[in-house]
Symmetry: C2
Amino acid sequence: MDEYLAKRAALIAEDRVGRLDSGRREFYTADSEKADGIVRRIRAAEAISVWGADNKAVDGADDATHLFPGMAFLTARELIVKTKLFKIMSKLPKGSLLHAHLDATVNARVLLDIALKYPAFHVRSSSALSEATLKTVQPEFNPLAPSAWTEHRSLTNASYTPGTWVPLQDARRNFAFGGPEGFDQWVLGALTISPAEAYRTHNTTSKIWDKFTSTFLTSSGLIHYMPVWEQYVRTFLLSSIEDGISYIEVRVNFWHKLMLDADGGETITHREWLSVFDRVTNEVKASMAQQSRADEFVGCKIIYTTLRFITPEELVWYTEDCITLKKEFPHLIAGFDLVGHEDSLKPLIDYFVPLTEFVERQKEEGVEIPFIFHAGETLGDGTPADVNLYDAILLGTKRIGHGFSLIKHPKLMQICREKNIAVETCPISNEILRLTSSMPMHPLPAVINHGVPVTLCSDDPSAFGNMGLSYDFFQVLVASETNGLHTMGCLARDSFKYTCLTDEEKAQAMTSWDKQWSKFIQWVVEEEGFVEVPEEAQPSSTDFTNLRRLKKA
Amino acid sequence: MDEYLAKRAALIAEDRVGRLDSGRREFYTADSEKADGIVRRIRAAEAISVWGADNKAVDGADDATHLFPGMAFLTARELIVKTKLFKIMSKLPKGSLLHAHLDATVNARVLLDIALKYPAFHVRSSSALSEATLKTVQPEFNPLAPSAWTEHRSLTNASYTPGTWVPLQDARRNFAFGGPEGFDQWVLGALTISPAEAYRTHNTTSKIWDKFTSTFLTSSGLIHYMPVWEQYVRTFLLSSIEDGISYIEVRVNFWHKLMLDADGGETITHREWLSVFDRVTNEVKASMAQQSRADEFVGCKIIYTTLRFITPEELVWYTEDCITLKKEFPHLIAGFDLVGHEDSLKPLIDYFVPLTEFVERQKEEGVEIPFIFHAGETLGDGTPADVNLYDAILLGTKRIGHGFSLIKHPKLMQICREKNIAVETCPISNEILRLTSSMPMHPLPAVINHGVPVTLCSDDPSAFGNMGLSYDFFQVLVASETNGLHTMGCLARDSFKYTCLTDEEKAQAMTSWDKQWSKFIQWVVEEEGFVEVPEEAQPSSTDFTNLRRLKKA
């Protein structure tokens, strides 16, 4: 038997040799091993104490809610935040955030509060509002020049003509369905995805994408107003830092060629967006330095994106625009991408000509703007969205956005391993957008075991409610017995490797991260309420699918 | 661009080189290519005509049912049977059925009809029946010796004492909740899993396993009665043949050491089970030969199984029993397995000692009984059920039952490829038992692309409603654009390779299959109503996740 167990251990080790946390002994210390043990014990104990209560009604869900670790995020969130495991994941230094869309990165409530400060903001609805239509009719926002301000004072009185602008403050004050509170609820509902939408009424990829897209249409009117935008960018950076994120490459949608100025005029060019972005980033860095927290924020770069529904001819304007911006802001433009629902919009191959011309033009202009393409964000097998993975890689993508279907492609996984092409995995996004029903069904554990470089990302946290990276780290840690605290640490630390930073900057970022990690480990092993989680709370098998038996015991 | 497209085609081919349908040009003919085209056109057309109607209420489901190809089987079934694609899958010669549990292979209605012929059958309920308890209180069946027959004539009158046996016929006739029809509905509900149970009330792996297990407890009382069993085995073989299955290795549960005889006495030994099984199989073979259909039925062998909850000490009785049976029926015993819910029952490693002793004992007795283990039928990552895969392979398993979590194990997949260890994949079973929410989320396409040998299986068709193999073939074909008719053909033909037949028998079985395949291809290309499916019905992208756009167009 001993001989067999040795052979077995060797096989398991060989099977896991490609994992990012394998062969990283330099990363392990006596304290980190102790912290890992604490985390595993807490996870096992909470599997019973938190996720063991079946049919608990949470977050407005019906009484048939079945709890388990890694379950549907929107239903689980209010339980997640109460766990010790989440407290630990919140404090963990996260490294880089490499896949997030700027327009969905600031908490919806915070965004609305910022907008409410500006009398220029108006709101309208496309059809008459009633209790019945509140969930389907979306508000539309727009800052208007004073000359265009209207006499209308309510969206909900009998005389309201759908499509007419009403001052935001008035519309809110006079809202017939619950006053300001009801108004806010209506707006926040339009800016976020609810559990009922994700798990019942919109329970297919295409339906939930409809809802998801509508959140961008609603928020767009609030964000693309320079006085708001500046505060929006600052809020995004500060809240990310508070969540332990020290470096960001954020996707900015440049599809709109102009943003509105303070007077509601459509006059602000992309160049000015970047100037403001640059200034805000520098202010945040300076402020961090002032607080002796310079280590916690390396910076934030931009991945230039436009939308996958434009024509190949139209793309040329954007690639040229991107080159112009790169020349003026070389430190800010990190890459180029095309975004939108892959299953229904144009595949990459449709843009082959302008994309290869873009590469040529970069050489002519002496700039380098790597592709960082979305690809394979799909359940399809052999569909155009799945096939995007081949084109992304052949076109030389530096990382892969989502790559959800990558596990189906052994050759492409090999290329990713060889060329260090990281997959920007967005666990909670994938689950809410119905690519997976829960974390245990997500392909991430397979991708990790196959040695493909991975980085965890939040994608669109204001729509999904997974602000920062703590929730995504939590969902990944809680749904696998193989992953431990070192796995999460390696995921965070390795994220710098796949950034567009220079080698020197990467080394510096990792050194800073190492300091934060040491502090974090120290905190875990010393924090009251952690160490005393009893050994006996740990079931002999920490098998989350095995809860029922444990509960009965 | 041409150069790029050539490079791209080469990369796609390299990525798919391990697929079972790759490099099989000998398998393709002008007619089979034509048939494949027909199938792809039908699939694309039906993606819109059948799966394009959203929110259609089917099979008693609520009005929020979202249709898509490969969707939840129990909700989709009544639509599936109306499709041309299903008609084609029904006629396709399926090759071998290598993973099915005998006690769940005969249609529940047919089983009940057989039982109704025997006056010895009695039924009881453990608590009082009412409209409210009908869905949770299960009937229990037992044939009683005439001396034990009772005076009771109804399960539902006021004087009924729960736990008291009532003659089946009387209980049915006098059933207060809808008479005989209501009685049958109650029994069939206990023998099968309903959409509401699978997708709402029992929507976790552990809860649905409770219901699933209860179907076996109910059917056990009907099946383990020799007069029924003989007809049961015959019905299983004949219905399999009608579905195009030509060879079977069926798992028989020998946990009960004795079966009831015609008089209700617990006297029938395993030896007698096999005698009857042997005779029935031979009768079916003879009858097929008489009809000049010998090619359609190669035979049926038994995989000896007992349950994963017995102690390692208890296992020894079964391994010795298995050896005894193998010596008397060498042509019938094909392998050995331990079955039951892996997430909650004992892992393979617990049985290491008796299992290795079993191998030694086989050598002493001069027999060879390969292990054909269930392993990795789980969503767990690094849990004991997932780790079963290492032990199954180290213990030399010939095939892997389910292997749902195998995709997480690169080294084990390599071993499966090298040693030709086939994964017995049960797509519909996995979906109903909540390992996957739908076929597009199933890991099968990844497993196929990684070149791991695969065979499609039905597992427990009487509980799931996926009688035969046509439904499982359908679900696999409809949810992938990469799979085509040749893929399904290769899956069927290759299944013989992984059987316990001798090389000579395998070659013969494949030759017979080839004849059926030719006939089948001929039928597809000539059948009225197939060829005329218009080319224009095929969307430019046959992307099933893209239905919404197509529907709008």
